[in-house]
């Protein structure tokens, strides 16, 4: 029982991380049909902002040396700025492009960012101890849980609640939902396209910043490709949950995280190394049963 509960918390915290990343991707897909392959590189770039640019193996803290409220604010702002910049430099010019071209461009942008990181910071992974007090294990009624997992779950729950309120109650959120529903109609009714898209990029960048902080504290390592695993799972999560649906992205993230943790815990030793293979098989199987994901949105169904 204890083992099961521990696995459940593992699953929930990994799922939360995937859900946050999936939400950042799903938001942009909902509004501009962009599958943003560069999202992982937004995450990596935000994490690298913690240290001074140099190719040395030892990292010197930069933003990372600030006190924690400032640090969080600075990294989140950084994430937002990166996302907005890429919108202004690249995606703004591709408003009328097909989803396929957008996908390719985001792939290219991610490649550029990743290689810029390698040029500036060097390709080798760097150790970075940030908030190591969070990684300590606390004892809750016989359950031994790393504090960080609880923080991750808490932060995710808080952010989701905040985002939900934002989308439902504020005029900006309502405009965003309208644009996701029917972009052309929303524009006719006075929603400013540039503003709504910039806003969704900003929120997506904010989420990337949160993911980068949680992930760096958890792993203690910086690497140019550090986020690629999370992002692969996040993509899959958005598709499994249902493209373009935000609750779907969250659900998909939790599901993929849970599948991954449960397989890790309950697969026999000999084939545990193949865990990811099973996760991907599970995803393909799920897509075959429900090609448009768990939550099906009518605006993405093909109409004849």
């Amino acid at each position: 029982m204890i083992h099961f509960l521990q696995t459940l918390i593992d699953a929930l915290s990994l799922g939360s991380l995937y859900a946050l990343a999936a939400l950042g991707i799903g938001l942009l897909f909902g509004i501009m049909r962009l599958i943003n392959f560069a999202h992982g590189d937004f995450v990596a770039l935000s994490a690298y902002a913690l240290i001074l640019p140099s190719t040395d193996v030892v990292s010197t803290l930069f933003i990372g040396s600030l006190s924690w409220p400032l640090l969080i604010a600075a990294i989140l702002t950084f994430g937002v700025v990166v996302a907005l910049l890429s919108n202004f430099a690249v995606f703004r010019r591709m408003r009328t492009a097909s989803p396929q071209n957008l996908m390719v461009v985001s792939f290219a942008l991610g490649y550029v960012i990743q290689n810029l990181i390698m040029t500036v910071y060097g390709a080798r992974p760097k150790a970075l101890g940030l908030w190591s007090s969070l990684t300590q294990v606390i004892d809750v009624g016989g359950l031994r849980v790393p504090l960080l997992q609880l923080v991750t779950i808490g932060v995710t729950a808080g952010l989701l609640l905040g985002l939900l309120l934002f989308m439902r109650k504020t005029p900006f959120g309502i405009q965003m939902r309208a644009a996701a529903d029917d972009f052309r109609m929303a524009r006719f009714l006075g929603v400013r396209a540039d503003f709504v898209i910039a806003l969704s990029f900003a929120i997506s960048g904010l989420l990337a910043g949160v993911v980068s902080l949680l992930f760096v504290v958890q792993t203690g390592v910086l690497a140019p490709t550090m986020a690629s695993d999370i992002i692969i799972f996040a993509f899959i999560a958005t598709v499994v949950g249902g493209m373009g649906s935000l609750p779907g992205a969250v659900l998909g993230g939790l599901l993929v995280g849970a599948a991954s943790s449960l397989l890790q815990a309950y697969l026999p030793d000999g084939i545990r190394a193949f865990r990811d293979v099973f996760v991907f098989l599970f995803v393909i199987a799920l897509l075959l049963v429900r090609p448009s994901g768990i939550i099906r949105l009518k605006q993405f169904e093909e109409r004849v």
Binding site: I35, V90, R93, M94, A97, S98, P99, Q100, N101, M103, V104, V105, F107, A108, L109, Y111, V112, N115, L116, M118, T119, S228, I232, F235, I236, V239, M243, A273, F274, R275, D276, V277, V279, F280, L281, V283, I284, L287, L288, P291, S292, G293, E302, V304
Partner: protein, 305 residues
């Protein structure tokens, strides 16, 4: 030059599926990987002790054989083509974005499998001493073969039906096109060509690692296809030539050019950054690629639209 012929094979392989079906696939490098390892399993190694030593999980028969390279290439084509046919028959029940993401899932899954299947693939360590058979003549021959196959497929009724399904899925279904079948055939055929490309890569470098067949190659080959223009076979070939030229140029700049006494050099890593930027620019300025869906024509010789 030899490297370019490999890229032509790979990108033409991608074109057979992506160009004709209009579905972006991120998973084709998986078949390249399968092809490269099939080549190792059949044709490696020059030292008789190498395979049993590094790959103890292989069947004994395979451990003791080291057939000449053509047999290895044939095996690569057969294994990659066969697995692409099976996987394609499953994945092609999906369409559009779901299919693209499923191929992405395929790539990640295959990568995870080969990385951990240590007894058969060597896992994370690289396999060296693979017989090197590639010369620019052999490469050119294989590249011409790949283009010819792509052309034959393009002209065949399967190619035509596939493009019909790309342009107007519902209408093509109504006209009696079995969309699933034509897509699966193209997927299998393009997987086969990718497998040959993988064997060529193995026989060119003499080294095979799992990491060599992941996101970087996926990006590079897709970039070439799309920059050239995924709408036409000429686009695929032109894309390879154009991007190879660009990377070569950037590589020169990275080494540095002498201007009087000063050495002008771009920072390292600029090659990749430049490649990405070129790709973004092409997509913004010319969304359908350099060839814009047209074919190069020589006299009256013309491909069907």
């Amino acid at each position: 030059m030899t490297e370019m012929t490999i890229r032509v094979v790979l990108v033409v392989g991608l074109y057979i599926f992506i160009g004709n079906s209009g579905i972006l696939s991120f998973g084709h490098v998986s078949f390249m990987s399968i092809g490269a390892y099939a080549f190792v399993w059949i044709s490696c190694c020059t030292l008789p002790a190498l395979k049993p030593l590094y790959l103890p999980g292989l069947p004994i028969v395979l451990q003791e054989t080291a057939l000449p390279s053509p047999a290895g290439i044939a095996a690569a084509a057969a294994l990659a083509g066969g697995s692409a046919l099976v996987i394609g028959s499953i994945l092609m029940r999906l369409s559009g974005t779901a299919a693209s993401i499923a191929t992405f899932s395929l790539l990640a899954g295959q990568y995870a499998l080969f990385r951990n299947w240590t007894g058969v693939t060597g896992g994370t360590s690289s396999l060296a001493n693979v017989p090197v058979f590639m010369t620019s003549a052999i490469g050119t021959l294989l590249a011409i073969g790949a283009v010819l196959i792509a052309w034959l497929h393009h002209q065949s009724r399967f190619g035509l039906m596939l493009r019909a399904a790309r342009d107007e899925q519902t209408a093509s279904k109504a006209s009696g096109v079995n969309v699933w079948l034509v897509r699966t055939i193209a997927f299998g055929l393009s997987g086969l060509i990718m497998g040959v490309g993988g064997a060529m890569q193995a026989g060119f470098l003499g080294i095979v690692t799992v990491d060599a067949f992941y996101l970087d190659v996926t990006f590079l080959t897709l970039a070439m296809l799309i920059v050239g223009g995924s709408g036409s076979l000429s686009g695929a070939v032109v894309g390879v030539i154009a991007l190879t030229a660009v990377t070569e140029m950037l590589r020169r700049f990275e080494v540095g050019i002498h201007l009087g006494d000063t050495l002008l050099a771009l920072p390292r890593g600029f090659q990749e950054v430049g490649l990405g930027i070129v790709m973004i620019l092409v997509m913004i300025l010319r969304p359908a690629g350099i060839m814009n869906g047209r074919e190069l024509t020589v006299g009256h010789f013309r491909l069907k639209r």
